[in-house]
Every structure is written in C-alpha cells, then in structure tokens.
C-alpha cells in the first residue's frame, strides 16, 4: 500500500495505491489522520489505483470527512472502482462524500 500526498491550488491530494486492508490502514492511518489539520480546505482522495478497501480504510475516510465537516472544508473521493463503489453504497458513504 502506498500513499502519495501532493499539494497545490489550496488542495491536498492523497493518491492511494494498492489494497487498503486492515494492516495497510493501520500503516497509513497516522499519515492520513495528519491530513485532518488541512480539513479546512479541499482534500481529494484519489482512488484511481485503489483496488480494495476494508472497514478500517473506511474509518480513515470518515475521520477526514468528520474533520472537514467540523472545519468547513470538503473531502472529494475521486476515481473509485465499481467494487469500492458497492462498498460505499453498502455503508451509506455515497451520501457522505462528494464522488467524482
């Protein structure tokens, strides 16, 4: 699992590459949770190369979403696969995130 974080135009983009299973979530959690500090702006989660996500991965997503809600920023989820989309649907995440 790899995370690439880039910044520009007042936006933070986290590119998630690989499988976000429980061990991977634990691994990237500190890095991702740190992004909450920038939740007043726009956080883009680029899922174009994300193959899999478990509930611990979803937990990272919603943590950022809650931070954005508190700070008036927004979280955009970009490029989810059909598989991940169905997970989002099952968990009601489609309603929580702006999906691009």
């Amino acid at each position: 699992m790899e995370v690439k974080i880039t910044r520009g135009n007042g936006e933070v983009t986290a590119q998630l590459i690989g499988r976000l299973d429980t061990p991977a979530s634990l691994e990237i959690a500190p890095q991702m949770n740190a992004l909450a500090d920038e939740a007043d702006g726009t956080i883009i989660l680029d899922c174009t190369q994300l193959a899999y996500i478990s509930s611990s991965g979803l937990r990272i997503f919603i943590t950022l979403r809650k931070a954005a809600a508190a700070k008036g920023g927004k979280v955009i989820v970009r490029g989810i696969s059909n598989e991940i989309r169905s997970v989002f649907m099952m968990t009601g995440f489609l309603n929580l995130f702006e999906i691009q």
Binding site: D21, T22, S54, S55, K66, M90
Partner: protein, 675 residues
Amino acid sequence: MKKLRNLKALLLVFVAAVALEATALVQFYFSQNGLREEAKLRAEGQLEATRYEIMDIIDQAEAAVRNSVWIAQWCLDYPDSLQRVCQRIVADNPVVAGSTIALVPGYIKNRPLFSPYVCRDGDGSLKVLSLATEQYDYPSQEWFARPLELGEGYWSEPYVDEGGGEMLMTTYSLPIRDSKGVQAAVITADISLEWLKELMGRMNVYPNAYCTVGSREGHVMVSPPEKQDPKTLVFNTMVDRTGWTISLVIPESDIFGVLRRVGSIVGILQLLGLLIIILMLQSFVRGERRYRELDKQRERISGELQIATGIQMSMVPKTFPPFPERHDLDMAATIVPAKEVGGDLYDFFIRDEKLFFCVGDVSGKGIPAALVMAVTRTTFRNLSAHEDSPGRIVRAMNDSLSAMNESNMFVTFFCGVLDLANGQLRYCNAGHNPPMSLTDSIRPLPVVPNLPLGIMGGFEFQEQEMPFRYDDAIFLYTDGLTEAENSAHEQFGEARMDDALHGRKSAQGHLENIKKRVADFVGDAPQSDDLTILFIHYVPSSRRLVLSNSIDQVSLLPAFVEDAVKASKLEPETADSLNLALEEAVVNVINYAYPEGTVGEVIIDAATTETALTFTITDSGKPFDPTAREEVDINASVEERPVGGLGIHLVRRIMDDVRYERRGEKNVLILTKKY
C-alpha cells in the same frame, strides 16, 4: 523319462530295421526260388537238346550198321567181300570212324578168326586192318561177346582205341545171323567220342556250368574240370540204349551270384540308411532335448520375470481414483517398464490429511534396478510413516541407501508432502528432473537439484515449499518420457511434453493424452527406458486456513478466498467482497476475542456445497458474538455517524447468512454465501 524316450526311439529304429530286413529276405527267398526254377528250365531244355543231338548220332551209327546187316548176311558165304561192306559203312557215314564184321570163331572152318576192320586214316582215306590177331583176341572183347550173349544190338562201354589214334571210342555191335538163324558174326560201327566232349563244352547256359557224361558202368566219358564249386545244382538225363548219363552241373554262384551280390549291396545300403536314420534320430533327440531344456529355462525365467513384474506392480498404487471418498484430489499414475521389470517407481498415500508422494528412477534396468526400486520404495514407506518433512525423509533414505550401496546404483528421487487441509506443498528433490507445476502457468517446479540417493551418505538435502492452490496440479515424470525416442532417434523432449500438458483435463485425461502423444511420436521404435508419470491435481472442496491472532495475517486471506470461490459456483468477481466480509470477521476476532497480549489461532474452513459457499471461523478466544452488535445507521449525518461498527455491517450485507455459535470453549461464526 529321458531314457524312456531313447528306448522308444531305439525300438522304433529296431522295428524298422527288422521290417526292412524281413522284406529283403522274403524278396531274396522268392527271387532265389525263381532263379532256381529258371535254372532248372534252362538246364532241362539244354539237356534235352543235347540228348537229341547225341541220339541223332547214335541213330545214324545204328542205322549204318542195321542197314548193312542184310548185305553182310549175304556176304557170309564170301568172307573176303565182308571187307567191302565195312568200307561202305565207313565211307557212307561220316559219324562212323571205323567198322568191322567179325566172324564167330569156327563159323567157317578154315578161318577160325576173321575180322576185317576198316577205319579212317589221318588224311581221311580209308585203310583196312585185320583184328584177327592172337594178341587182340577179339572173341573175348566186350563189343563182340556181349551182343552175341544178348542176341541184340549193344553199345560198348567207352574205351580208348589203341590202334586207331588214341581216341575215346564206343562201338555199336549187332549180331548177324545166317539164313539158318545161327549167330554167325558181329557187325560194328565205332564212333569217336571226341565230339561228345566238344558237344558238352557247348553247353554254356551259365558261365561256370559244365557237363559230365558217365557210361552205363560208371566210367567217366567227359570229365569235370579240375576246379569245382562246392555248391552246385546238378541236372541229369539219360541217353537211351547207350545207358549214358549226362549231368549238367551249375554252380550256385552262377545262378544266385547276381542276386546275392545285389542282395548284399541292397542289404548294406539298407544298413547304411538305418545307420543314418539312427544318427539323425539321435541328433534330433539330442537337439529336441536341448531345445526343450532351453525352452523350459526360458519359460521359467519369463515366468519369474512376470512374477517379478507382478510384485513390482503390486508395490505401486494401481487403483484409480486412489481415494474415491475424497473430492479434493484427482490423481493418475502409470509405469510402463521398458523390460519386463523396471527401475522406475512412484508411490503415494495419505496420512494425517497429508498426501505423501514420490517418483524415482533407479540407474540401470532389469532385475537389479527392480530390486533397488523395491528397496527404495520400502524405505520411503518406512520413513514416511512417522516423518512429515520430505527433506528429512529424503535425507534418511539417502543415508540408508548409501550405507548398503555396494553395487553403486543410485536413484533420482522426488519426494513431496502436500498438506491437504491448507494446500501447502513441501518437497525435496534428490537429483530428479523437476516436475512440472500446473498453476496459472505451466513451468518446471523450482527445485534445488541436491544429489541422487545412494551416492553420498550424510548429504544435507534442502527442502523447499510452495503453496498449492485450488486447481493447481503437479506433473511428475521420469526421463523415460522426455527421452522417449522415435525410429529417427529424436527425443520426445520437454517442448512436446509442455505442449501436451496444456488444456484443462482430468488427471486421467492428462495421463491418457500424454501416453497417446508419446506412443504416436515413438511409433514402432522399441521403448528404450521405463516411463513413469504421476499426476496430482488439487481440487479441494473444503480448505482450511489457520491464522495466528495478528492483523498481518489477513494478507493471507485473498488467495484463500479466491481458491474457495474457484471451487464453488460463484462468479470470480465475488471474491473481493467475500474477502472483505471475511477480513472484517477475522479482524473482529483478533481485536475482541483475543485481548491484547494473548496468543491464539483463527481457523477458517471454506466448504462448498451444492447451493452455497460457507466459511466457518473458529477461535478459542473469550466469548464474542459479533452479531450481537448494534446495527449501524448508514443514513445518519456525518456528525452523528460513529467511526466504527462498519465491519459487521459489511459482513451482514455481503453474506446471505451470518450465524454465531459458542461451541464449548470456542467461538464459531458461520458465513454463508448462496449461489
């Protein structure tokens, strides 16, 4: 038995000999009789002809005398004219050599003895002598006295004429009576018997036959030759009036000579033939015996080889499918020995849910290789009965085989142990050609070559391992497959084998396909090496994954789930979501059933049925029922939503049925996904 056969053969020859000789003897006997009969006919014919010839001369002489009797009677009164009568007899009859008319003494008073004798001189002219001499004293001569005594004609005994040329003579005499009936004189005709000799000499019916002629009194007139055969046949005939006996003597050798010569030649030829038959029979019997012994020997060896093949074949599992009650293994195997018995082997068996299997190739061929094969197989069975590690099995086999390897034979060997519960394959290769692994691709299994068994005791064999997944297969073989040669001495080779392994088939299907391809390739060329194939196809309907209670372990789930899905009737795409459900369930167990610091296992069993795929997650942690957790409200606002609780929610959403049980000291969570 041998003697009896000899006796029979001898008896056969003996009977044949007796029959042959008896036939020859009978033939000989009849031929001899025939020849004797013929000789008799010929001799009698000739004797008869000769007798007629003699009688002719006798008759001529008698007639000459008889015809002159009347004139002699007439001349009695003129004795001097009697001489002329004699002259007429001699002159007119060439057979007559001499003639006389001798007066009975005293018939004429002044002439007490009177006998003029006329005979042929040396030059053929006639000469006249008188027999009326005192020394001769004709009245006492037989030719004179006997006819007078008998009163009729008489042929004298043969005698040698002293006066007239030293010839053998005989005389016919006839008394002459005068007109008063008184015996007055004797008239005679001499005939020489020299012609008789000549006549007898002409009787040459057989080359060594001869004639003798005997007189009435037994004097020999024609004598036999000096040299006489001891065995003769004699035929006689008698000449009338003279009383002579003519004997024709034929030596048996003349009559039967040819027959006896032919007979002995035939006899010798027959004996020679019999001898040849005996020799041939003897050599035939000897050859036959030798052939039978060889045949018996060959039969015995071939029988023993068949038994050996039977024993060898009984050592390898031959019943397929070998484990009909199991559905997780599809196996096929074969050994095709190049000679009756071979040095290849394969073996397999299941112990403690582990499949132990091996393939080996003993150096060399025939019975020695088969013996080593038997030892190898026995050693494998003995060691693997208690040992699970293929590396340690191979090490111990190598030490055992090296220790007793006096014939310097070695065995290339591959040993594998497949854990049927989790698909873990551990293997150890001892110098054998790498098996082919049929997973996503078809390629040789990565192997450390190590060393063949039996070369160096104490060698540290390296064991390797590889996870075996659903539908994976391993194809083990001996070099008899890749080195199978056709008549052009080309080898079947790895490329052809590789090609033959493509395509989805049952194990038996793969085996038949490879065998057929090899057979088609090899054609009529003789098989040069044993060919062994062992095909193991792993298709578990249920599998087990055992995890320790560490979050890292969830990375082992995707492969496990993928295999479980493959074995089921689910679409492959469902694997991801099932994996998610399973991961959530397992993470729950690790997080809640096993509190921080405790050690435990999470066992996952995947089972396919006709209608569903079921995962059963078992742990020995503290009681924990994930289904008891409150449902999360997915429609709540961002602010109201809790961060956690999504895991069990996902499990519920993905699976069709989620059931928790506390079984004894264990938590059991059963997840079912219907097709």
